[in-house]
Assembly symmetry: C2
Homo-oligomer: 244 residues x 2
C-alpha cells in the first residue's frame, strides 16, 4: 500500500446539486473513484470528473427499501479495495458524513490497511429541513438546544432509548423519521409534551419533489395528515421554538 493514498469522506448535502460545498465539488472533480450512496442525486454526481470510476455502494438508509441496502461490511471492503488501488478516492455520503452515516466503521476499515483519510463536512439533513421549512432550530429562552436523533435502530441493536432525557425546551430533529412517526408522537405525548407542540415533517429536503407538512404532536400521533408514502427520507422537527 501507498501512504499517499487518501480516502476523502465528503458530505454531499441533502440532495440538491447546489447544496454541496465548494470543497466537496473540488474533491469530486479530482477523485479517480467515487463511492456513493444510492440516495445521492445525479446532479451531485455530475460534479465528478467524467473519467472517474463511479461506484454505487447501494446504501439507502432506513426506509421502505432498506432490505435492499448493501451490508456495511461490503461497503467497507469496497473502500479498502479501491483505496489500495487508487490515490484519490472519494466516499460521498448523504448530508454530513459525521451524522448517522456509520462513518466511524468506515474510518476503522480505512485505517485497518494503513490508508489516510480526511473529512469534508456537508449540510446535514436537519439543517436543510429547517431551511426548507423556513424556520430556526433555536430560539432564545424557548428552544435552547437541538437534539439530532433517530427512533430507528438496526435489527442487531437494542432499543436506543431516545425517549429518555427529553426536555421541552429543545428542538428535536428525528432523522429517518418516516416509519416511526406515529409511535414517536405518542411517546412524546406520553412523556408530557403538549399536544399543540409544533411539528414540521420535511420529505426529501431540497429535492425537486420536496414536501413540507406542518402539524402538531396530536395530529402526528393520529396520523391525521395527507402525505402519501414515499421513498424520500423524512426529517421530523418537533419543538416550541419552530415557526409554523
Amino acid at each position: 500500500m501507498n501512504p499517499s493514498h487518501t480516502i476523502t469522506f465528503v458530505g454531499a448535502g441533502p440532495g440538491a446539486a447546489d447544496l454541496i460545498t465548494l470543497r466537496g465539488v473540488k474533491a469530486l472533480q479530482t477523485a479517480q473513484v467515487v463511492l456513493y450512496d444510492a440516495l445521492i442525486d445525479h446532479g451531485v454526481l455530475a460534479h465528478a470528473h467524467p473519467d472517474a470510476i463511479m461506484v454505487d455502494v447501494g446504501k439507502r438508509g432506513v426506509g421502505k427499501r432498506c432490505a435492499q441496502s448493501k451490508k456495511q461490511s461490503a461497503i467497507n471492503a469496497e473502500l479498502i479495495r479501491y483505496g489500495l488501488q487508487y490515490e484519490r478516492v472519494v466516499r460521498l455520503k448523504g448530508g454530513d458524513p459525521a451524522i448517522f452515516g456509520r462513518l466511524d466503521e468506515e474510518i476503522d476499515a480505512v485505517l485497518s490497511v494503513g490508508l489516510n483519510y480526511e473529512i469534508v463536512p456537508g449540510v446535514s439533513s436537519a439543517l436543510a429541513a429547517a431551511a426548507s421549512a423556513k424556520t430556526a432550530l433555536t430560539r432564545r429562552g424557548v428552544a435552547r438546544s437541538v437534539r439530532l436523533l433517530t427512533a430507528s435502530v438496526g435489527n442487531d441493536q437494542p432499543d436506543n432509548l431516545w425517549h429518555t432525557h427529553l426536555t421541552p425546551s429543545e428542538t428535536l430533529v428525528f432523522y429517518m423519521g418516516g416509519l416511526h412517526r406515529k409511535a414517536v408522537a405518542q411517546t412524546l405525548l406520553d412523556k408530557g409534551f403538549d399536544g399543540d407542540t409544533p411539528v414540521v415533517m420535511v420529505f426529501g429536503a431540497s429535492w425537486v419533489d420536496e414536501a413540507v407538512v406542518r402539524l402538531d404532536l396530536t395530529r402526528m400521533a393520529s396520523n391525521d395528515f395527507t402525505q402519501s408514502e414515499t421513498d424520500a427520507p423524512c426529517i421530523i422537527l418537533v419543538g416550541k421554538g419552530l415557526r409554523v
Copy 2:
C-alpha cells in the same frame, strides 16, 4: 414596500472560503447588499459581487470581544432598512443560520414590514469541528444522538439548564464553549460522566490558525492543557463515541 424584495439568510459555513455551498455563493454573487457578521472570513466575502454594498453588522457571538457586538435590535433595523430599499439582500451568518444565530428574531423583523425571506443552509460549526477532528459524531450503540447546546446565556436570560436531561450515550457539542469550559467539564463530572470521557476542543474550525486539542473530561475540568486564549470561536465535543 415591494413584495418582490427578498432577504436571503445564507449560512457562510465555519469560516474557510470553500466551505460555503454553491447556492450560497450564487446568492452572494447576485446580492445588491450583504449584511455580514464580524467573524465571517474575507475569503467568504470575496464571493460577493464587486458592486455589492457590504455591511459589517458587527456580531461576534459570545467571546472576549462580545461587549463590542452590536445589539440585535440594531441588526434587525438594518435588515429592515436595506430590505425595503433593495430587492436582493443577503444576510450572511456564520455556520448555519438556523443554529444559535437568533435567526428567529431576524425573521420576525423581516416579516414585520412584509418582506419575503428564504434560507440557504450552511455547514454548522459542529460539523466542521468534527471534520477537523477527523471523527464521527454518532457511533452505533455508543453515541446514538447528538446534542447541540451552549453553556452561554445572554445577560437577560435565566440559566438555560443545559446540564439537565443528559445521557452518556450521546455526543454533546458545545457552541461558544471556550469561556465556560472548566465549569462545563466539572458539571458533567458531577452528573456522573466518566473522567476519561473523550473531549475534543476545536478552536477556529477550518480557519488557517485552527487548533484541535484532544483531552478528556478530567483534564478539561482541571484546565490542564496548553491552548492560549484566542478570539477564535471554540467548539467542544464530548462523548464516548468520539475518535481521539
